[in-house]
Amino acid sequence: MSQVTTLPRAGIRRRPRRGRGAGINVFYLPALLIFAIFTIYPLLNGITLSFTNWNGYSAARDVVGAANYLRLFEDETFRMVLLNTFIFGIGSTVIQQILGLGLAVALDRPLRGRTAIRAIIYLPVLVSPVIMGTMYYLFFQYNNGALNDITTLFGGERIAWLSDSQTAVLIIVLVNSLQFVGISMIIYLAGLQSIPTVYYEAANLDGAGAWQQFRHITIPLLQPAFATSIVLNLIGGLKLYDIIQVLTGGGPGYSTNSVSTLVGVAYFDNQSAGYASAMGVVLFLIIVVFTLGLNTLLNRRRLEQQ
């Protein structure tokens, strides 16, 4: 009878067998492949196109160097639209943080029907932005719009809400904020529920009021939630497309376009696919810079508070 020698269990752990992880790797290759085909390839292709004068459909295209990027600096419409994009991004983010945090704090407390209220507030997130935009278009439109019908019911004049660019931009920010406030609320609710109650109990014993508790316990301990919510909302706001298309189509003139919608206009309507690609690359870089900058800033603040 041969003697079987077994290695101690701990020894096996210290010596990983060759290829053990490689088998697992095969399972994420399809996802990696899809990511490469639908994200990496279009990104690289878009960057390449931005250095050409392609019209978007013809076989012919010439390399024009950095001409499309230089044109961006001279394009007044692009500057206006870039400002709109910042308003959509930052405006929506601010509104969603204030409303989302307020709703989260209110709905974190024992309240009759709070699960139903949370679901109702979150429900618009599940709806397509096109549907949301259409609903609000029907609300704000001049003829047969619900808001104007209500106004005239009380003897008021009809107002062309979407004809004034400033009003229309604000409406777009508001609609986008109301649709996605549920995401902020959920993130803050999760953050609130992870804060140990002992801190509040101790603060109560020390005589701290509700505002002091919110200011010195809730806000500091919600820093990770702030980072997540702000970055998500900011990216969504900077990329805003669907709601603008449905509510105003970018008009009047170009005045309510975002960079995302202007890319579509330049690509398909003006037949300047190269120029549109340059806009897309710039938008991509703006989002990267904003996101990385914000993440760094919020992480630094969190570390300082720890």
Binding site: G19, G23, V26, F27, P30, N53, N55, G56, Y57, S58, A59, R71, D75, E76, T77, Y137, Q141, Y142, N143, G145, R158, A160, L162, S163, D164, S165, T248, G249, G250, G251, P252, G253, Y254, S255, G264, V265, F268, D269, N270, Q271, S272, G274, Y275
Partner: protein
């Protein structure tokens, strides 16, 4: 053993994915026909009838009539870029300048000898080739509601200058009716500019434009006129949110007097109210020249030159080009046929045709953007004019936008 299991699992996943890609074997041949039409358009109904007749005579052939979404042009550009050109597609005025590199030349087809020569400027290239079958010869003017004008005591025949028009519009407004109905949501501002522009430029200035040199003052005059109507509140108050359907309804119900649209607008309006009396009159000229009509290619269909079914598609076009079929199709849009050997019922527009078109004395000018502006300028015309109508921009600001885009797009396309 473990690696075999992994390979088996991966293989299974790939096999399952592959089954989703398999398609059922098809019988016969299907021609994809991108009509560019809404599902309820009268021309769509005429195509359905013609397709049924063709299918009955050609067993195994199916004509797949596809209605257009709101992004027809963008969809087509994507398909052209991908090399996936439909068998038959609507060229909406661009068979030569945009689509010709993808389309089969049709000048040698049996019906080509009946091609209406009026369309040559817009559709035939220097080599004598053309690339689409014209359903109609589009002739358009300033659409008016005769009942409304009669109500305010205006004879449309008296409108020969823009001052005449503005006076008539002011009377209409005083009667509580919208003078000018435009569809801000459906590029109505661009059509307004397209109607006005041919009369803003002299022949010499048009030559300059065609050579790539933008001439400012005529376009400034055009935008000033657009702004003056805004200042006098002559546009529909729901302009920004109005669709073409809204304009058709307003014309049909007598809630609007004038519209700057192709004649398909009249067909749509009479669908809402068959009793309404609509017509069109020649467009006054800003320079003071004679009023003119606008025309050219509109409802025309080309064939993919690389399509597998090119010969069958040509046969189908031959069928559509027969006088009876061509006449029925043109009647559906209330226009003159694109074939000289066909006749059509112009319906509500018969009087206007008899008065202004039949004797050929009123000049017919091409759609301005297609001939004198570089490819891609349509959207600039829409947005710049729109910004003036809505007061977002002064004419000078809108002009700067037009000039800038003209320069960059002309450079791109030449």
């Amino acid at each position: 053993m473990k690696s075999r299991s992994v390979l088996f699992a991966v293989g299974t996943v790939i096999a399952l994915a592959a089954t989703g890609c398999s398609s059922a074997a098809s019988e016969g041949t299907t021609l994809e026909f991108q009509t560019g039409l809404s599902i309820d358009a009268q021309l769509m109904a005429a195509f359905e009838e013609a397709s049924s007749d063709y299918e009955a005579a050609n067993q195994g052939v199916t004509i797949d009539l596809i209605p257009a979404g709101t992004n027809y042009e963008a969809d087509m550009k994507v398909r052209l870029a991908a090399g996936n050109v439909p068998d038959i597609l609507w060229t909406h005025g661009w068979s030569l300048l945009r689509y010709s590199e993808f389309l089969a030349p049709l000048q040698d087809e049996p019906w080509a000898e009946h091609f209406n020569p009026v369309l040559s400027d817009a559709m035939v290239n220097d080599a004598g080739e053309f690339f689409a079958f014209p359903v109609d010869t589009d002739v358009a003017g300033l659409i008016y509601n005769a009942d409304v004008l009669d109500q305010v005591g205006v004879d449309p025949a008296d409108i020969v200058t823009w001052d005449d028009f503005t006076d008539a519009a002011t009377l209409v407004k005083a009667a509580g009716i919208v003078p000018i109905a435009a569809a801000g949501k459906d590029s109505g501002a661009g059509q307004l500019a397209d109607w006005l522009a041919p009369g803003a430029y002299t022949d010499d200035e048009l030559t300059e434009l065609a050579a790539g040199r933008f001439v400012d003052q005529p376009y400034q005059d055009l935008l000033d006129l657009v702004e003056s109507w805004k200042d006098q509140e002559l546009y529909n108050p729901d302009y920004s949110s109005a669709s073409e359907d809204d304009v058709a309804r307003a014309l049909s119900s007598g809630d609007a007097a004038f519209a700057f649209n192709p004649n398909s607008m009249v067909s749509n309006a009479t669908q809402y109210n068959p009793d309404v009396t609509l017509g069109y009159l020649p467009v006054p000229s800003i320079t003071g020249d004679d009023p003119y009509l606008i025309g050219g290619e509109y409802n025309a269909y080309g064939l993919s030159k690389t399509g597998d079914n090119l010969e069958l598609a040509k046969d189908f076009l031959n069928f559509l080009a027969q006088p009876a079929q061509a006449g029925a199709l043109a009647s559906a849009v209330g226009s003159i046929p694109g074939m000289t050997n066909a006749t059509s019922e112009l319906g509500a527009l018969q009087d206007s045709y008899d008065r202004y078109v039949a004797d050929g004395t009123v000049p017919l000018k091409p759609y301005f953007d297609r001939v004198y502006l570089p490819n891609g300028m349509w959207n600039t015309m829409v947005t710049s004019t729109d910004s003036v109508i809505t007061g977002q921009s002064a004419p000078s600001g809108a002009l700067t936008q037009v000039k800038s885009d003209f320069s960059s797009l002309f450079g791109q396309s030449n």
